[in-house]
Symmetry: C2
Subunit: 272 residues, 2 copies
Amino acid sequence: MTSVRLRIDLAYDGEPWAGFARQPDRLTVQGTLEGALTRITGQPVASVCAGRTDRGVHAIAQVVHVDLDRAHPRVARATHDLEVLRFRLDRMVGDAITIWQVREVGDDFSARFSATERGYRYRLVDGEVVDPIRRHDRWHVGEPLGVPAMRAGAKLLLGEHDYAAFCRNRQRRTTVRRLDEVTLTRPQPGTIHVRLAGPAFCHQMVRAIVGCLVEVGLGKESPDWIGEVLLAQDRSLAARVAPAHGLTLERVGYGRRYPAAPPASGRRGGAD
Amino acid sequence: MTSVRLRIDLAYDGEPWAGFARQPDRLTVQGTLEGALTRITGQPVASVCAGRTDRGVHAIAQVVHVDLDRAHPRVARATHDLEVLRFRLDRMVGDAITIWQVREVGDDFSARFSATERGYRYRLVDGEVVDPIRRHDRWHVGEPLGVPAMRAGAKLLLGEHDYAAFCRNRQRRTTVRRLDEVTLTRPQPGTIHVRLAGPAFCHQMVRAIVGCLVEVGLGKESPDWIGEVLLAQDRSLAARVAPAHGLTLERVGYGRRYPAAPPASGRRGGAD
């Protein structure tokens, strides 16, 4: 097969989908994207993604790759002009998914395995009220959170650890990960952003960490408790995971060889 | 009647409602707010608002007043602690409406007639793509807009004029208004914000103005055309009104005697 590998950079509103990953009889981001590619090329298409997000989680910078057989005339036509393909795809997948860019990559590039860094942002509102038009991507905790205590707890998570206490569905795979960044900021009164970055994350690790940080921010637990949960490697000690809709996959890094999609218009600024 | 007048500052996501104004058998912001107040007080409640927004239009700073009869025991109880009343109301009206503040005002205050300034913001995206989670409050024009030409056209609208060409449903009432501000900014690449302010606006005036500015920005009309439309006072000459979901009522001013609600937590910054 004269195969061509395409890298697709996309964003989505997590709300309308049963998560990223394809499922029979459910509307998913992956299923919708693959379905559109199949309608365009006439070929079955299977995609590989950088970070499988759960139901309700948003992405501003998800990355996917697909292999297509260029020997097929409809594939050859569709991949002739990749900006035209991007435009058609973007139309077909509807308003809740945006296709930033489609480009050809070598077959040594994997959206999943070539990724060296994943970055997430979790939005918290600790004011009494939340702007209703912005309620879809932030968790309204509704009680004041102590950011210094949360920062002290977050610091204990940095570096390489066994994050078993913060992972779901481990299925006997390793839960050792490296966390390079957990930063808390207040972009405006009543709002806290938690940014997390590392080479890879376990299932629900970000939401489990944020859930614990909120307990500390509320004063129900001390910052040191975060370290105790981590060391105990026992998920039952951790807090409930933070709701999915506050979380956004914000960055996937592949090193210098594969740069990110150029800053697309209408893309969110960090301050928001 | 020992009446008490309450001023209510609120925000709403315009999407789920058939507009602000009460309508039989339709879900509206006003109907929902009045219904909640009636359930709390046991009394029929009629409200007066600063700016009746159309279906789909959002508000970050709407103002309403209501009169309640304090002689009624349930009203006396409900108005005893206005922060408790705010909290109850906020709960009852659901996620798509936020009650920022409830306070007692003199009966010389009218949410509608005491207002000296109304401020709106219209969000345009002229990049090829739009962040899907932010698509609910901006119009995705999708073609590059020339801001300098739009600014030149906007300038011709400032001051006191007969805005008949930009008004719907005039019903023989005057369409003379004063426009104090039409400012265009690019908070980020691909995004344009149009801010408009004046003592009062006709029905759909903001959306009609933005519709015409977009024609100019696309190069379909010259900036001077805006002045011609204004002078002709003929609505059929103007462009189609811009879609409702790009518009947000952002500010209602009452002068120094009646300050705005304090910056509420989780409230949008202008840069977004």
